[in-house]
């Protein structure tokens, strides 16, 4: 507990003033299975994105751009819901 802040250095009442800072907390190491995205096979339907519990599908300009492995927990919903299945998104064992 060396990097923990003292009582004078935290906002009062347990309030958190840095909105959305959980992004700094990595949950990627929870994975036992890893989704692999194959861009060529992807039709950018965004089913993976709309069903992801972890906001871990990267979408830019309405197009699937990849997977945020820092936070993806490997639940497998994206691959399960992908209409292209093996062609675009599939799960492999985490190394």
């Amino acid at each position: 507990m060396t990097n923990l802040k003292g009582y004078k250095d935290i906002p009062i009442g347990g309030m958190i003033t840095e909105a959305g800072n959980s992004e700094k907390y990595k949950t990627g190491d929870w994975r036992s299975l890893k989704p692999i995205w194959n861009e060529e096979g992807c039709v950018h339907c965004l089913m993976c994105w709309v069903f992801c519990p972890d906001t871990a599908i990267i979408v830019e300009d309405g197009k699937m751009k990849g997977i945020n492995y820092d936070h993806c927990k490997g639940c497998g919903i994206c691959a399960r819901e992908c209409p292209r299945k093996e062609k675009a998104l599939y799960m492999v064992k985490e190394e």
Partner: protein, 313 residues
């Protein structure tokens, strides 16, 4: 009708790095609902999985203002936040448009939070209450709630030599909320994201209280593979175990009617919590569950017909 391409441009309110279990249904519901707010939101949350996992100090996954007070009072706490907004806006101290939304699990909504929810809805606060119903107290380790389906194996209704899991039917909370006569009530499922989006849009748009009841599987409590979460909700809808409907000013409309209603056994057999129902000693229970699902579905269709008849008059 919005496309996912369009929706993907709406900024996310729930940041990654939260510690909900892999495959949890609740954050899917949260993401899908908040996308329809069309204005900044202030969020209240009942104690529960969503609350503890998204706000482990010093981290928060909420990019919006967020308040958690306790288990049974998300609605009351948000009532106060909304009242402050009305007061400060009237005094010209605040000019922003803000939408108010509360999230609670079935424990915080069907059970311990029902009184404060009822009070807030009756008073007419301009807020959306979203229940993510995973059918048990999952945060404390899968104890039964009044939303737990008949026959489910939970840690307080364990399957034993004389009891086959939970005895008795689950409470129909959506109908209780309809009985409040509030402007908008709907039942939603993340599998039907477009239906969900349209309902959330309406819920946020109405002046006054709105209630959304979302099915949100818990892979641990339901005992299914984490990848199957969305499939579970799809089956719940297709078997009419979780019908999709809305009540706009009390007028009921079933928003999705399965072309071929699947037998409820299709839903039950996919989950470990119902496995014992298939043992010979529990013969007849599945038939009873099917009969109850049928009865509720028929009743819902009848309510819809009644609403149509009234509209035609």
């Amino acid at each position: 009708m919005a496309t996912l391409k369009e929706l993907s441009r709406v900024p996310e309110v729930l940041a990654p790095g939260h510690r909900m279990c892999a495959g949890c249904g609740a954050p899917i519901v949260v993401r899908q609902v908040l996308r329809a707010a069309k204005a900044p939101v202030a969020v209240a949350n009942a104690t529960g999985c969503l609350e503890v996992s998204t706000t482990i100090y010093p981290y928060t996954s909420w990019k919006s203002p967020f308040i958690h007070v306790a288990f049974e009072n998300a609605s009351a706490s948000l009532s106060g936040v909304e009242a402050a907004y009305q007061s400060l806006k009237r005094q010209g101290k605040i000019t922003d448009e803000i939408k108010f939304v509360a999230f609670g699990g079935d424990g915080g909504t069907y059970d311990i939070g029902l009184q404060s929810l009822s009070g807030a809805m009756e008073r007419g606060h301009d807020m959306v209450y979203v229940c993510y119903d995973n059918g048990a107290y999952m945060n404390t380790g899968i104890q039964r709630s009044s939303a737990t389906p008949m026959g489910a194996d939970t840690t307080t209704t364990p399957v034993g030599s004389v009891r086959p899991g939970k005895l008795g039917w689950r409470k129909n909370l959506t109908k209780i909320m309809m009985a409040h006569g509030i402007p908008y009530v709907a039942q939603i499922s993340p599998s039907h994201w477009n239906d969900l989006y349209q309902k959330a849009e309406k819920a946020f748009a109405v002046k006054g209280p709105a209630f959304l009841n979302a099915i949100a599987p818990c892979p641990r409590g339901w005992r299914h593979d984490s990848a199957e979460t969305v499939q579970m909700t799809k089956l719940a809808v297709d078997t009419c175990f979780w019908p999709l409907f809305e009540a706009v000013d009390g007028k009921v409309r079933v928003t999705y009617k399965p072309r071929q209603k699947k037998p409820v056994v299709e839903f039950l057999k996919t989950q470990g919590r119902f496995r014992h129902l298939f043992r010979p000693e529990n013969e007849g229970l599945i038939e009873q569950i099917q009969a109850e699902v049928d009865r509720e579905w028929e009743e819902l269709l009848a309510l819809e017909r009644l609403s149509q008849e009234q509209a035609a008059e």
